[in-house]
């Protein structure tokens, strides 16, 4: 098993702060710009990077991430290109954990064994596959774990205490707690509700718990990070990309739009427990 994820969460815990988990869409708005954003994220304060694999039918994503995926596909992004982005990233960064996030069909079509071998080759640390619940573990989760990749699972408000052990059984790396039911980018629940949920999950597992869905600002990050081991931000980054575009194309300000936002979020997680 790769150890970058565990090492990074341990390092953040030592500094008594949550990790900042940032999501970007691979290939948005184009391969070159996305690679530049990717490379710049650790310097801006991202602790863990989720790299979205664009899919034509992202059933659990809100309009912002849907649109980011559409931009990437339109620009010609493929799963192979996404994997190669990671190989390129690893040339300059050996420490930052990178996990792929997306939907199963492109992996299924690529071939599971070939995909897992590619993941290891390019230096990936884990997978978050939205439409792959524990009921389908034999399909991808168990082979991924055997290959030495983390399989990170989402827990949601509908995942009750009876179901949590089922969800956590083959989960590794961290648990991604979706702080609300719904699609990405929706409204955030109260800090107190998230705190209670994080404590509930932590009573079932020693894995780090990352809270996500709905976090947009440094204040959100600070509030949600009080009790969570990490906060995940995705929609806000995709919106930053969108806001920087001119007629759908990257501009000189696109990379900076994302890194400025991430720097702000990074300041948020650093005062979460003050």
């Amino acid at each position: 098993m790769t150890t970058r994820i565990a090492d990074r969460f341990a390092a953040c815990a030592k500094k008594n702060r949550p990790a900042l988990v940032t999501y970007i869409m691979a290939g948005d708005p184009d391969l070159e710009t996305a690679a530049a954003i990717f490379k710049a994220l650790p310097g801006a304060g991202a602790d863990v990077i989720e790299l979205g694999m664009p899919f034509s039918d992202p059933m659990a994503d809100g309009p912002s991430i849907q649109a980011a995926g559409q931009r990437a596909l339109k620009a010609g992004q493929t799963l192979n290109k996404t994997l190669e982005m990671v190989a390129e990233f690893r040339k300059s960064d050996q420490a930052t954990p990178v996990v792929l996030m997306g939907y199963y069909n492109p992996i299924y079509i690529h071939g599971v064994d070939r995909f897992l071998a590619d993941c290891l080759r390019v230096g990936l640390d884990g997978l978050i596959i939205v439409d792959m619940p524990p009921e389908e573990d034999a399909e991808l989760c168990v082979p991924a774990l055997k290959a030495g990749l983390n399989f990170i699972r989402l827990a949601t408000p509908t995942t009750d205490d009876r179901r949590l052990p089922v969800v956590l059984k083959n989960t590794s790396g961290f648990v991604y707690y979706v702080t609300m039911t719904g699609i990405t980018g929706g409204a955030i629940k109260s800090q107190a509700a998230v705190g209670a949920a994080v404590r509930r999950i932590k009573s079932h597992t020693s894995l780090p718990v990352v809270a996500g869905f709905g976090i947009k600002t440094a204040d959100d990050a600070a509030n949600m990070g009080r009790e969570a081991d990490g906060v995940a931000v995705g929609t806000a980054l995709c919106n930053a990309v969108l806001g920087s575009l001119d007629a759908g194309k990257a501009t000189a300000g696109t990379v900076a739009a994302v890194t400025t936002l991430v720097a702000g979020l990074a300041s948020g997680v650093r005062r979460a427990r003050n």
């Binding site: 059933m59 659990a60 493929t78 509908t158």
Partner: protein, 406 residues
């Protein structure tokens, strides 16, 4: 029942919701607890005498079952081969087979204490059937419908609104059934506590494919009885159109283990199977993949991105198909063949002129298959076509194709 012996092709799904390699439960964790609850609720309901009695009563007095089996004498004479019977599902209340399923699921939603119903629709037949049962049982209803389909099936949009449903046009993608289903799933993930997703076809995550099949299998069961009365034997061939495939699985299911009965599914061949992204024939022109909660044949590109597909018929314009069809396709039990837009239009006109029955464009695909098949069969052989819906909703768009707006 799915218990016809070890060699039966009717044993699916297994406890993981699989028909062979197809089916399954590929959904986000948010939905998983609900899908498990639904499975339990359905398995309890289907053996509950009170549920069975209520279904039977609604089928008889509300939907108008059994639907007639009609001998199409002029079509038979015109095609000069096998005797053609039409299973008149278009005479059901709301004008299609869709009511069979919505009645069953609305009772289930009530049993589960759900207070809001959502649905996706392509041609609008399922949307109308859902809006209808929501009106009857006083539940708020939101129907997601691709913006393209809202336009080409305008009469059904009006019907849904009159029945009190909110129709939400979906502009993502090509604005057709696939996009409507994505949006319905997003709504469901967001409102999972209150909302029941009333899926219209025998696809989606387990238990939907099984449940929808069970609610639709009455079509084939009635055909068996009615053919016995009409001909004293089983039909030689059954034909149905296949989009998601609910009318087809309902027609076929009772005959799957009857080797003498040939089964034919008519897929949407659109502009032709060789035209890239120009058809919606997922089994003829696609390959297995995972979408909308199940593994099944899908139209997709080399990188696993789902294609939009095309069909003149909004109800067949879907890049996937129910998983049990994929299973029956691989088992070579059912022959699935593409029917082009033009062939369907020709069948539409033939049925209208010869029998005085205006079929839905979806059903016209099935009839086009009958037109190919009947002349190759003997005059003492029989074909039953599931005439799944009526074509009132299509007269506007067909009229435009035929240049009748003058």
């Amino acid at each position: 029942m799915a218990s016809s012996g070890a060699n039966s092709l009717r044993n699916g799904p297994d406890e993981d919701g699989r028909f062979g390699i197809f089916g399954g439960r590929f959904v986000a964790e948010t939905l998983m607890p609900l899908i498990r609850d639904l499975e339990v609720a359905y398995n309890t309901a289907k053996d509950d005498p009170a549920f069975i009695a209520e279904m039977a009563d609604l089928r008889t007095h509300y939907a108008g079952r059994p639907s007639p089996l009609y001998f199409a004498a002029r079509l038979t004479e015109h095609l000069g081969g096998a005797k053609i019977y039409l299973k008149r599902e278009e005479l059901n209340h709301t004008g299609s087979h869709k009511i069979n399923n919505t009645l069953g699921q609305i009772l289930l939603a009530r049993r589960m204490g759900k207070t809001r119903i959502i649905a996706e629709t392509g041609a609008g037949q399922h949307g109308v059937a859902t809006a209808t049962v929501c009106a009857k049982f006083d539940l708020p209803c939101v129907v997601f419908m691709g913006a393209t389909d809202v336009e080409r099936q305008a009469p059904n949009v009006l019907r849904m609104r009159m029945l009190g449903a909110e129709v939400r046009p979906v502009t993502a993608g090509a604005g057709t059934l696939k996009d409507a289903m994505n949006e319905a799933l997003r709504d469901w993930v967001t409102n999972v506590d209150t909302t029941y997703y009333l899926i219209g076809t025998a696809a989606g995550p387990h238990p939907y494919p099984m449940m929808v099949r069970d609610f639709q299998k009455v079509i084939g069961e009635e055909i068996r009885i009615q053919m016995q009365e009409a001909e004293g034997r089983l039909p030689d061939a059954l034909v149905a159109c296949v989009g998601g495939g609910s009318n087809a699985i309902g027609t076929f299911y009772d005959f799957v283990d009857e080797p003498s009965v040939k089964l034919y599914g008519a897929e949407a061949g659109g502009h032709g199977i060789d035209v890239e992204n120009g058809h919606a024939a997922s089994m003829t022109g696609g390959r297995p993949g995972v979408l909308h909660g199940n593994r099944t044949y899908l139209l997709q590109d080399a990188d696993g991105q789902i294609l939009e597909g095309h069909s003149i018929s909004a109800g067949l314009d879907y890049p996937g198909v129910g998983p049990e069809h994929s299973f029956l396709h691989d088992a070579k039990r059912v022959t699935y063949l593409p029917i082009t837009d033009n062939e369907a239009l020709e069948a539409f006109q033939l049925c209208t002129r010869l029998e005085g029955i205006i079929p839905a464009l979806e059903s016209a695909h099935g009839l086009a298959q009958v037109m190919k098949l009947a002349p190759t069969m003997a005059r003492d052989e029989t074909i039953v076509l599931c005439l799944s819906g009526r074509g009132d909703k299509d007269v506007e768009s067909v009229g435009r194709y035929l240049g009748m707006h003058k």
